[in-house]
Amino acid sequence: MGDGALSVREKSSTARVVPSARPRKLAKVPFVELADGRLQGVVSSGSDIGRVYVSSVAAGSYAYACSTNNNRPCGGARGSFCNHIRALVGEAVLQYGAERVGRYLKVDAEGAADAHALTSVMTGSRPGPGDGSAAAQVFSRFLRHLAYLELPASTGPLPEMQWFPTTGAVAA
């Protein structure tokens, strides 16, 4: 029925395009995303509970940046990835899987087996420091992300959610 030249994915209304995030511990890296052509996120400071670092790696060039939310550059991110960026890559792999992170960052699939391998490939290409101006934007995306917790629940039906089935048993 309704068959033609289109593949199942092309003619499905409810195909899952973005798999849901995998559960991970958030204490060290509360926010990770693949967006704006970068792996970017927020990493908690190991020493100061009120401070966070905004870290990012650009897809393709692996140009990196790391600074505090008050826009002070991270001392470790000189010459290569700092520990915040390494932690960011590690947690991104937990959340999205190494394959998706590697594909987004354009790291050769052969080298994308795990976080360590991904990081080695990227640092091995001797990337330069990136444009740090994205930090404010990443930080505001993190705040927007946190703001979702403050929005109230509702018991009015959302028929639109029929297009977004959960993907539990398959993803497990």
């Binding site: 029925m1 309704g2 033609g4 593949s7 199942v8 994915r9 092309e10 003619k11 499905s12 209304s13 409810t14 195909a15 899952r16 395009v17 973005v18 849901s20 995030a21 559960p23 991970r24 511990k25 958030l26 204490a27 509360p30 926010f31 693949l34 704006d36 509970i49 009120g50 966070v52 959340q95 993190f142 705040l143 927007r144 992300h145 946190l146 703001a147 979702y148 917790l149 403050e150 929005l151 109230p152 629940a153 509702s154 018991t155 009015g156 039906p157 959302l158 028929p159 639109e160 959610m161 029929q162 297009w163 977004f164 089935p165 959960t166 993907t167 539990g168 048993a169 993803a171 497990a172």
Partner: protein
């Protein structure tokens, strides 16, 4: 042939679900033609795209939409389509899929032999123009998307939705549109740049686009309560839907009015926006405090409702103050005894779409086979093969593919997607040491003592605690 000696709920003319439906292919071909035009974008349509637009107009030529859609198709094919034209095209596509929905629903009713739904629900009330500026901004973004086409999307264009969504989310009256735009934009962002996209989810994105566009119109998203219901609610199971930043749980149930009136199928929903790192058991934790029914489902209990608001579509607008815990109620007993007589409600015009079909059914006496290629399952029912949509079973629960594979009875939602009917399991019964044991997808909705479940709950609690702590420090500066 279907043996007629099988118990009430198990009786189903499965052959009707695999037979062709008259006119379906033609209607879907017209939809596909329009959807293909959106792939390349409507800025400067090529001849092939113009054909798709004309095909859509032809398909609604005998309807009240005819002249507006014909004009919209003409102007758009000439590269001169404006917002009004795009809205007309989205309306035509929605009407066509509405007819597909109706044909499929009629087929389901025939197959399961249950009372047909009452006449169509009324259309949306042409309400006041609530938040007109935000709706106009959303419409403008959607029209820019249509001009660019799925192959033309980039981060700048897709990112334009973020400010509209942020402004809409706090307003309960805009929650439907905001939630849809948010999920849609996240998918598009993950697929950027469109130029290097290998396989476009053609029908899905056209669905989301046209639905969002229609929801920007005044009153389109309103589904007001039309009355209050009092009586006994017998849960069948829970369906969970989620995208990165939203979750909804819908309890499907049989409602028996206390005045002795006819019983009917109803749904009770609870939804919440969420950060994308809240997943699995965290979803139940977010929703649980807002609907006591989730606890009742987990415990296998009925609930007594007192003047609970309900819409014409059979959606309860849940209010904990109007419900109290009732007697234990086994979902399989409900499915065998009460479900066959429960009538469905009418569907509002905007919700007449195949993706919205979710009909509770009980299947028994089927064979289980592995589906070709993808590791999924197929139920063989009276010689007909019905695919099992096990992907829709929530992760935070005891129902797995293996449990479904070893089951003898399945309570599920009959759905339709990509040209075929599918069964989404809500619960199964299997025989363990000569006794029937039920496993429910929503068993952990109200909490759990299961070892894996407790671990998942703990991890989810910790994740939210970290985020709340961060939010407390950073958001209020």
């Amino acid at each position: 042939m279907v043996p007629d000696d099988r118990g009430g709920g198990g009786l189903m003319r499965a052959d009707l679900l695999v037979d062709a439906v008259d006119g379906l292919d033609e209607a879907l071909a017209a939809v596909d033609g329009f959807d293909a035009a959106l792939v390349g974008g409507l800025l400067r349509p090529q001849p092939g795209q113009a054909g798709g637009l004309a095909g859509l107009a032809d398909a609604v030529a005998g309807t009240p939409l005819a002249s507006r859609v014909a004009e919209a198709a003409d102007k758009t094919a000439a590269g001169a389509g404006d917002e009004g034209h795009f809205v007309a095209l989205a309306a035509a596509r929605t009407a066509l899929l509405g007819s597909v929905h109706d044909a499929l629903t009629a087929r389901v009713e025939e197959a399961i032999g249950r009372p047909a739904a009452a006449d169509a629900a009324g259309g949306p009330v042409a309400g006041d123009e609530h938040a007109a500026n935000l709706c106009a901004a959303a419409r403008s973004w959607l029209c820019d998307l249509a001009r660019a086409g799925w192959q033309g999307i980039d981060h700048d264009l897709v990112g334009g939705a973020a400010s509209v969504v942020s402004a809409m989310l706090p307003d309960p009256a805009l929650r439907r549109l905001a939630t849809l735009l948010d999920g849609f934009a996240a998918e598009l962002a993950a697929s950027c740049p469109g130029a290097s996209l290998e396989r476009v989810p053609v029908r899905r994105w056209a669905d989301l686009w046209s639905r969002a566009l229609l929801l920007t119109l005044p009153g389109a998203g309103s589904a007001p309560a039309v009355g209050e219901v009092t009586g006994r609610l017998l849960p069948l199971g829970v369906d969970v839907q989620e995208h990165a930043t939203a979750v909804q749980a819908q309890v499907h149930a049989v409602f028996e009015p206390s005045d002795g009136g006819a019983s009917r199928l109803v749904r009770a929903s609870v939804s919440a926006p969420k950060p994308d790192t809240v997943v699995g058991a965290g979803l139940w934790q977010l929703l649980r405090p807002h609907m006591s029914l989730l606890g009742a489902v987990g415990e296998g209990r009925s609930m007594e409702l007192d003047a609970m608001p309900a819409t014409a579509e059979g959606d309860l607008i849940w209010d904990d103050a109007r419900a109290r815990s009732g007697e234990p109620a086994d979902a399989f007993v409900t499915a065998r005894v009460a479900l066959p007589a429960a009538a469905a409600s009418a569907v509002s015009p905007l919700d007449r779409h195949p993706a919205r079909i979710a009909v509770p059914v009980l299947l028994e006496g089927y064979g289980v086979e592995e589906a070709e290629g993808d590791g999924g399952l197929v139920f063989e029912v009276a010689g007909c093969r019905i695919g099992v949509d096990a992907g829709r079973v929530p992760a935070a629960g005891p129902l797995t593919l293996e449990v479904v594979a070893s089951s003898g009875a399945c309570l599920g939602l009959l759905r339709w997607d990509a040209g075929a009917f599918l069964l989404q399991p809500l619960a199964v019964e299997r025989t363990v040491r000569k006794k029937a044991v039920a496993v429910h997808a929503g068993a952990w909705a109200g909490g759990t003592t299961d070892k894996a479940g407790v671990r998942a709950e703990k991890a989810a609690t910790d994740a939210v605690k970290v985020l709340r702590e961060r939010a407390g420090k950073l958001l209020r500066k």
